[in-house]
């Protein structure tokens, strides 16, 4: 009793831990949903409305305002729809495993939306930082330091031209022989003026070039240092890192989006595992509570953990024989009313009158056809019990004796030899060539037979099916039907069928 109580306490504690773990996971999933909604909202905003700074254009008249409101409603609804679908898909993955197409679509689109909006945000952020950068603003201001004209040169030219004009007047009057000296002086001064102007223009061009380069540099520097580093890496030794800034932004936001999606997907997986663990523990606790105290002191001790399946237990379990008469049922089977004429519990093998026993009880171990199995949310298939399997009372608790009126039907030899189950069907399929006795074909063979027949969906957990395939192989090897290939190499046959 103490051991059982301790076991129950441990299981209860585990159940509480699993539940709190599950609650935390669900909370994180909800947070992920909210975050996804906001990211999609941002994405749609960038896609349909543009940057918020430009929205003032929509408020000019009623028509623009109406268009803006309409677009906003689309943006919100679309973000809600997309994030909700993604949330639903992730919960679905947790329960039923991933569907490749949906995973690709959901995650692919989420990634695109996330890095689309994030990269646009990086640009906006860089622009805002740039606008606040005083160094950059100073480069935009008009340069007032235009060089003043050389006043000395101008007055010299004017004076030289005046002298030349006087000289020419005197030349006409015959008072001068020539004016060549004055003319040469004017020409020289004009040449000087042209040279000075040219030098000034070149200096201005050079100054503008430096100013633009400085602006580009400041623009580039407004990005995050990680982005700058990645851009420098992408540019290599020779390239200009400023040309790779956009590429770096895309890569970094893509990386962030991938990480977010991986974690989000992980949450959905943990949710599925937690739910299954909780359900498993609840079932185990229920079983444990219903299980009678039956720890035998003999060396061989039968534990009636499972429902007896229709054959009388051997006499080596006297403690079990004295256990309560409450029937232990099939998994998921509801308790049936005990039959009025239930035989009193007696110790030993006394055969009751044949009339009290129905033939149905003779072979309760015969399970229903596997086609009646239904997929469950926890990916276990549960048998749909036929009438013949609905036990009216416990059949094998060590008390019932002579359950069958005919001695031949009393279980003295195993009723099943594995041929009635899925394993037997698999053996037949292998022998008939319908299924190859190797990993992938067997996996597919099992998967086809246990998936939900109504939808044809591949809802069974892949790992679980792999474990089934391994269990089949283990039994086949134990029975000498197959062996592990001693010369196995990658790509070759891992197992050899030797039957």
């Amino acid at each position: 009793m103490l051991v059982k109580n301790t076991q129950l306490e441990i299981m209860q504690r585990q159940l509480e831990q699993h539940r709190s773990h599950e609650q935390r996971g669900l909370l994180l999933l909800k947070l992920g949903f909210l975050l996804t909604f906001l990211l999609y909202l941002l994405f749609n905003q960038h896609l349909y409305l543009g940057d918020a700074l430009s929205w003032s254009a929509y408020f000019k008249d009623a028509a623009s305002l109406f268009g803006f409101a309409f677009t906003v409603s689309i943006v919100i609804l679309m973000a809600l729809f997309l994030s909700w679908v993604k949330h639903h898909a992730y919960l679905h993955f947790g329960f039923f495993g991933s569907v490749a197409l949906v995973v690709t679509t959901v995650i692919g689109f989420a990634l695109f939306a996330e890095f689309f909006s994030s990269s646009a945000n990086q640009d906006v952020k860089a622009s805002v930082l740039l606008e606040r950068n005083s160094a950059y603003q100073s480069t935009l201001s008009h340069d007032t330091t235009t060089s003043a004209p050389n006043t000395g040169l101008v007055s010299a030219i004017a004076q030289a031209e005046q002298t030349l004009a006087r000289c020419e007047e005197k030349l006409k009057a015959g008072k001068e022989k020539h004016c060549n000296g004055d003319r040469a002086k004017v020409a020289a001064l004009r040449n000087s003026e042209q040279s000075a102007n040219k030098a000034q223009a070149e200096a201005s061009i050079e100054r503008d070039k430096l100013k633009y380069e400085r602006q580009d540099e400041l623009k580039a520097q407004s990005y995050n240092p990680v982005i700058l580093t990645l851009a420098r890496v992408l540019a290599g030794e020779t390239g200009d890192y400023k040309d790779y800034l956009k590429t770096a932004v895309v890569l970094i936001t893509l990386f962030v989006a991938v990480c977010f999606e991986i974690l989000h997907h992980f949450l959905s997986k943990t949710h599925g595992v937690s739910v299954r663990a909780i359900e498993g523990l609840e079932l185990a606790i229920a079983k444990e509570r219903e299980k009678p105290e039956s720890f035998a002191q003999s060396s061989v001790n039968l534990v009636t953990e499972k429902q007896p399946i229709g054959f009388a237990l051997p006499a080596v379990a006297p403690m079990t024989a004295q256990a309560e008469l409450k029937p232990v049922l099939f998994k998921y089977q509801t308790e049936a009313k005990p039959v009025e004429h239930q035989t009193k519990a007696t110790i030993g093998f006394t055969f009751p009158p044949a009339s009290t026993v129905t033939a149905k009880q003779s072979a309760p171990s015969t399970m229903s056809d596997f086609g009646q199995f239904r997929a469950r949310r926890d990916v276990f298939a549960s048998p749909s019990l036929s009438d013949s399997e609905t036990l009216l009372k416990p059949l094998a608790d060590g008390l019932k004796t002579g359950l069958d009126p005919e001695p031949s039907q009393t279980v003295s030899t195993p009723l099943a030899n594995g041929q009635n189950g899925l394993y037997g069907e698999w053996l037949k399929a292998v022998n008939s060539g319908e299924c190859l006795p190797s990993v992938k074909p067997t996996w597919l063979w099992i998967q086809k037979r246990i998936s939900n027949k109504e939808t044809g969906s591949r809802t069974h957990d892949r790992t679980r099916i792999s474990n089934m395939q391994k269990a089949f192989f283990a039994r086949a090897m134990k029975e000498g039907l197959m062996v592990a290939n001693p010369n196995y190499t990658n790509g070759g046959k891992k197992y050899l069928w030797i039957a």
């Binding site: 060396s299 061989v300 039968l302 499972k306 009723l415 099943a416 594995g418 089934m468 269990a471």
Partner: protein, 61 residues
């Protein structure tokens, strides 16, 4: 169950009516969930040094 068995110096054997047995509880439940062997498994506690085949045959005989 397994830790309890170990503490008691015994082991849990999960067996089916056709005589096939294993020691892994999860595998046994997995096999039952798809009706792999035509019956539901039973559990027996055996000493560590017991001849499992013989004991199972005896139980089923």
């Amino acid at each position: 169950m397994d830790s309890l068995s170990t503490a008691l110096g015994t082991q849990s054997i999960y067996y089916w009516l056709d005589g096939y047995w294993i020691t892994d509880k999860e595998e046994a439940e997995l096999m039952d969930s798809i009706n792999a062997f035509g019956s539901l498994h039973q559990v027996v506690e055996l000493p560590m040094n017991a001849d499992i085949e013989t004991e199972i045959k005896r139980l089923l005989s």
